[in-house]
Amino acid sequence: MEQVEYKLTAKDFKSDQENRWCPGCGDHAILNSIQKAMAELDIAREKIAVISGVGCSSRFPYYMNTYGFHSIHGRAAAIASGVKVANPDLAVWQISGDGDAMAIGGNHFIHAIRRNINMNMIIFNNEIYGLTKGQYSPTSPFGAVTKSSPFGTVEQPFHPGELVIGAQGKFFARSIDYNVKLTTDVCVKAAKHKGTSVVEILQNCVIYNDACHAALTDKEEKENRTIVLKHGEPMIFGKEKDKGLILDGMKLKIVTLASGGFTIDDLLVHDAHENNPGIHTMLANMRYPDYPVALGVIRQVSAVTYEESVVNQISKVKQTAKFKSMNDVLFSGNTWEVKDK
């Protein structure tokens, strides 16, 4: 990726379009975070393509002063895949909501991840359909009462992290909309990671699903209910930094330090780079109130990217190719001359 010589600021990435998200929507904070991340990454604006599907979050490209494509519902991952494979020099950011990515676009979502195309997929998860005014989404909890489930849903939700890992995902991180610092941080890490980087951002829909993540944003309790994972560091959390995670048989267990008889050395040390997805899946699946919700980079494993393989294959074939242009192909194989008689 070409680095520009001058230092960009978040402001450089703001477009002149009027922002149409509801006041108080979590999307505003996410927009700020990503613009900050882009400034920190210092990649020229013209080298960035922001691709989205349809939904509230998918308005995102209009607010970015980069190349942008607001496409159709569910197809952002496929369109972004095409952009990146066609022009691997571009930094591709794909923005989707939980419905766009995991309902109507579920197929494209898992296959883009499986191929490991080097792009950043930012999933705004508010567990509701906002733009169509309040129906349940594939991440709404079982029993959620919405306009299309007045008596509660009767279906199990997807857990995005589990789905990503199941689709051979190499990078999965999670943040919360209000935490601009953490979102910026994981987005920078996602962008620097080579391969498909999925970032799930827990986002509040102030109109149709207000306070859906309130348990995790509660000022007093948030530190007891979430754990920010850092590669190489013990899994410790809590307002008093007095709780931690250990592996107990086949599952994770919360233990209390000091009073519980555990020391920091007993805790699991986060290894985001471990290829085996067992513990990463358990961490991604931790739900409040049984567990603290994991934030930060949960999984980050190196692997060859799709577009890299495409480019390499082409250059390898070209090295020994008989055909250098279409004329060579046209006149190859069994041909015969007809002469004027």
């Binding site: 013209e46 496409s71 159709i72 972004a80 066609a86 055909f323 279409m326 192909v329 006149f331 041909t335």
Partner: protein
Amino acid sequence: MSFYFFLAYFVELNCFKNQLQYTMSKNANIVEKEDVVIRFSGDSGDGMQLTGTQFSNTSALFGNDVSTFPDYPAEIRAPQGTVGGVSGFQLHFGHSEVNTPGDYADVLVAMNPAALKSNIIWAKKGGTIIINEDAFTEKNLVRAGYDFDPIEKYKRDYNFICAPISNLTKEALKDFEMDQKSILRTKNMFALGMVYWLFDRPLCYTEKFFEEKFRKKPQVVEANKLVLRAGFNFAETIEALPMHYKVAPAKIKSGTYRNISGNTATAWGLIAGAEKANLPLFCGSYPITPATEILHELAMRKDLGVKTFQAEDEIAGICTAIGAAFAGNLACTTTSGPGLALKTEASGLAVITELPLVIVNVQRGGPSTGLPTKTEQSDLLQALHGRSGEAPLVVIAASTPSNCFDYAFEASRIALEHMTPVILLTDGFLANGSEPWRIPKMESLPTINVPFATPEDENYLPYNRDPETLVRKWAIPGMKGLEHRIGGLEKMDKTGAVSYVPENHEVMTYLRDDKIKQVAQTIPELKIIGDEDADLLVIGWGGTYGHLYSAIKDIRKEGKKIAFVHFHYLWPLPKNTVELIGKFKKVVVCELNLGQLADHLRVNVPKLECEKFNKIQGQPFTIVELSEKFNQLLEEL
């Protein structure tokens, strides 16, 4: 070595000779023929497609004009010996111009009773039928649904040559350490060898084919070559075949020729388009019969930098292509009818974003899964109108296998120069059919002028248009100063900003419509084939060209006046469409559907009254049925 082998073999052959049933003279006469139609048929695992292709290639290399038509089932291996599993390959080669694979076969090869049962309708009365006698067991006759002995019944109408092909193949390969299954797999070469002798064809091209194809399996090469020669020698030895035909090379325009199928020609036309536009080619596609070979052919061309993306579904096929178009490639997606239906919404996105995109639809019988391996022209209205909203795009169609190259190239040109999606319609008949093709040099193709935006374009606005063509400029991501946003929401004229202004929506709807209509300024006018002063005008489009042209030629040979016009451009229509059609007293539109072009023309040609002649059997027209219809219409005048 093989010479001595055949000496020994000859003796054994004589033993079989007595078992042969034949109805014609034992003396092989040499007869000069203008043209011949051959149909190979057998189980779908019998290798009939390969056999037919080999005969076509040999004949083309020999200098004949050739046209082919594979007719195969959707099932890869339907139950052996059943009518449902029969695979056929018809080819027509001649001393003069050949425009169709022919209506009826002079020679039918039937490898089993089921093949005979489903193909005898395609054999000319008085023609020759070669059967593999070994497969005509009681069990197989029952399996094919025969409750009588077909040879006994039909022997007065056809010249049957009953050859013990399986046994002779086994005999020929008895010294080979191969299992029975592998040995019997080569029996198609025995039949091919017989037909090669019948038409005085050299074996060398097929031998060379095996040498190249199985370079790493010398035993397979030898076995196939041996069986091929055994068939050839057998036919010569038994003198059972009624005639020994000669079809002299055709008199055709000088140049370098090759045999090409419609799908290969389509793929190559797209690559040629990219090369002429100096752009990388990207194909996002999902496998679907009968379009898949285009993807195969493009995937082979990594040497020319072609990127193929086998997507997870049809929608991802077109969406990755749209992404590639946004990123600055010549992008295409290839499909067949049901796939086009799945691409509907995304093709509307390409319309509103005004990105260049080629959508190839190789039509097959529908609706739904329909007849995957059979041909039809029933996606015309889907191509023209199958999108939400007012979503005009360019629709063009190829007319012969090699013509697919020209129109794939033309689709690329229009897409790029006019910044629009273009649907190219071909069909199963063109896709799998093949014909000799006078190869164009790349230098002879027109250049493609892509309307790129450049950093010199001050205050670039994505939806600013050329005042005449109404084409917007294409700013490729990566270019500094041209950053912009596009999308599926209605956009403000010029700026491209999201707009719900009512009047603006109407302005943009008209602009998009007019932009497509302006394409008519760059396409050729319709030309009449035949008699300009005729009363009857025959109209066709797409893959029916060869049959229509041949029927028109036959009728004119009889001294009757008839005119023919063939549409390659379905939208926009050529400029002289209304004027030209208005000149004729009677108009008949011939299509392999219920009359979709006729309906389309009725909307666009004021007061048009036309007859429709339609066929919906998954099969091409026959020249005979077309000629009958035209003669009837001429008499009614």
